[in-house]
Symmetry: C2
Subunit: 424 residues, 2 copies
């Protein structure tokens, strides 16, 4: 099993970077180190709504003995008119507005009479009520230290600093920082395009009628959803009948939109398992590295697996078994890491933990095969959900973890420590 | 702060359900209990590629004394021709194919000579090599118990069982189950459409030139990304200047595509804080429940906040402060729970935990205000990242948690237990 995964991870390479608009790059991996091109804030600015003043002019001010200053006008964010503050003067200033020349500090409006002459105020009068802006006199009731309520230029980041390192995943806060330093586009690894295709002549699409011997196609839905969950752009191709020629031409048609192909079914030892047969012919046999290998892995579920590359671009292909549980577990163990490798992520695996087995009786597991059992995990304890049958899709829908029973264990007693894969 | 959150959660209601195709419903909340309409598997079927036989015919079989049976044909999945197995007969059967009448058990192909007469085989000959299917004689080398390698009809789920409960979030395994029982469409709460709008005359879009006194708009990017992260379909409206009429008409234009509106900036006590003014006029004052309230909350960052509903549909609106850190923290605390409530989720909050404070010196916090500090969490320990300034967006990009310092604490010593919000 580990060999198979190693082969996949040694073959699959991160996709070539593309430049994307910031919001299109959400969840993607940054390719370059990003250097800050300008200091943030780009200028000294006020952290409060208040008055920009000189320190000496408000020294010793109190409610009893306020400092009376001449208001020379407004400094609003984004409207900075040339305005300077001289001795005995104040400029009304808004949060984020540049500290005007001559001013040394900011007193919050709540420490003043707001120019109204009637004691401390809770805020400024809206400009719509007093469109002329601030004028006349303001009384200041408290002193302020130099640069109080002033955010210094460069106090957040400085020009030349490293903003983000290559390899960073772009979530909302990273996008915030990139926007704040003026980066509207970034080079990232794109989301991989994954084509999911189920095979089996017995498969019928949901909402259609089942004839005897038929079942509904669930794998193509489950794996398309799982591929999206892993970060991919996933395309679901409905079930393809067990006919090598049809399968071959469908795969060839789909290659144009695939960075990774995933098939389910047709990989075992049956006479109608056409995936192997079809894929041998899709591979360009003149090219090295082409072709798909089929293996029996020492695991349960998911024993038969195929992996290789096909077509002129050596598109990687994973051929998973057809039982719903087998294909889902195979996806988690092999396809998800492949998708995340294509994205350029280094953390490609589901998290694992150890937990105490909560069960009425011992688990049994075939010797020589690593078993993955659906389970429910909570607070360091893990409880099996449903049986080990590869067809039990109902139990899967109520599981959030997989218990891993190692190759050399045939039984696991209740209370034993077991390894658990968290499906999150 | 809790009052504000309570008001939001008491006002915001889950969106009306819609019927969606299965894959479009990924991540959404199921509205109805789903009952299984047919048993799974729908018929007894083989779990192996092999031969369907009668138990008595293979009793005592061994490599030395194999049972020789007449092969009556193939039973392939989805191609079930009418075929029955009489005494002394075998049908070659593929995984998933219905157990034919008369057969009582399945022997895997590996226990037989595959009809080739040359000892045990590893698999069947592909149909392309032997298109006539199985015929002649097969030697079976091992006995089989009744119904060995047979998956019984209904062994996964039975008609009438509860497949999934209302309120279930549809992830890949739940989508697998719905497809498996033939449900191609489901009724779910849709993803909310969230319009994000930043305000401020100082704001310039990334990649444009900054003049003195201007900064780049980062809030509209950060909150659009965060809204998507929370499960919404988010629309970013570029920054709107501090002009009440422009803001009012922009908001009115956007209402048509909004289940929730989020604004940033313009909610404080400054003369140019036009959000309050604009929103009072958007509200339909003749209708009960309309209008937006503005409050000062006992928290840092994020003191000034607005919440209410606007327009003919009483669309909920959250008005957040304009500092990047304030708006982001406010989003996490107020907007994310609102989005998740609209989705019909019951688990609307970020997970919290307690951790030991890893810091060189004590944290200080203003008395009477609950403080949220950016931090990095790992293994039960939490380290502050950057300072407490509301403009420090660089530190935010390197944080994955918020330390919560309660209202009554003014200092927190290194090593103390603190509450932590995990930003995931």
């Amino acid at each position: 099993m580990q060999d198979h995964l190693d082969d996949i991870l040694a073959t699959v390479r991160p996709l070539e970077p593309i430049e994307l608009n910031l919001l299109d790059a959400q969840g993607c991996v940054l390719v370059d180190d990003i250097t800050v091109p300008l200091s943030l804030p780009p200028f000294d600015n006020s952290s409060m709504d208040g008055y920009a003043v000189r320190v000496a002019d408000v020294a010793g001010a109190s409610e009893e003995f306020p400092a009376a200053l001449e208001v020379v006008g407004d400094v609003a964010a984004g409207r900075a008119e040339p305005l300077s503050v001289g001795p005995g003067q104040a400029a009304r200033i808004m949060t984020g507005a540049p500290l005007p020349p001559g001013a040394e500090t900011v007193v919050p409006v709540e420490w003043t009479d707001g120019g109204l002459g009637e004691g401390p105020v809770a805020g400024m009068r809206a400009r719509s009520l007093a469109p002329e802006g601030a004028e006349g006199q303001v009384h200041v009731y408290r002193p302020a230290q130099a640069r109080a309520h002033v955010r210094a230029k460069g106090s957040d980041v400085r020009s030349g600093d490293r903003a983000l390192e290559a390899g960073t995943v772009l979530g909302p806060p990273q996008i915030a920082l990139l926007a704040a330093i003026g980066r509207g586009r970034v080079r990232v690894r794109p989301r991989p395009r994954v084509v999911v295709l189920s095979t089996g002549s017995e498969l019928v699409q949901p909402d259609e009628e089942l004839a005897h011997g038929q079942i509904y196609d669930s794998n193509s839905f489950a794996l398309t959803a799982a591929a999206r969950d892993a970060g991919a752009i996933a395309y679901r191709v409905g079930a393809v009948a067990d006919d090598a020629e049809t399968l071959r031409s469908t795969i060839e048609d789909q290659l144009v939109r695939a960075d990774l192909m995933v098939t389910t079914g047709g990989v075992s030892v049956g006479a109608y398992d056409v995936v192997k047969e079809a894929l041998a012919h899709v591979a360009d046999e003149d090219e090295p590295g082409g072709g798909v290998d089929f293996r029996k892995l020492a695991m349960q579920p998911g024993k038969p697996q195929g992996f290789g590359s096909i077509g002129p671009d050596h598109t990687p292909l994973l051929a998973l078994p057809g039982n719903p549980v087998s294909s889902y577990v195979s996806f988690e163990l092999f396809v998800r890491p492949a998708i995340r490798t294509l994205m350029g992520l280094t953390d490609v695996h589901r998290p694992t933990t150890t937990a105490s087995l909560a069960a009425d009786k011992a688990l049994t597991s075939p010797r020589g095969r690593r078993q993955f059992l659906r389970a429910s995990y909570a607070d360091g304890s893990v409880t099996p959900v449903g049986g080990s049958g590869s067809h039990l899709v109902a139990a899967l829908a109520h599981a959030d973890a997989l218990i891993v029973v190692p190759e050399d264990a045939e039984t696991v007693e209740p209370g034993a420590e077991v390894e658990v894969v968290l499906l999150g």
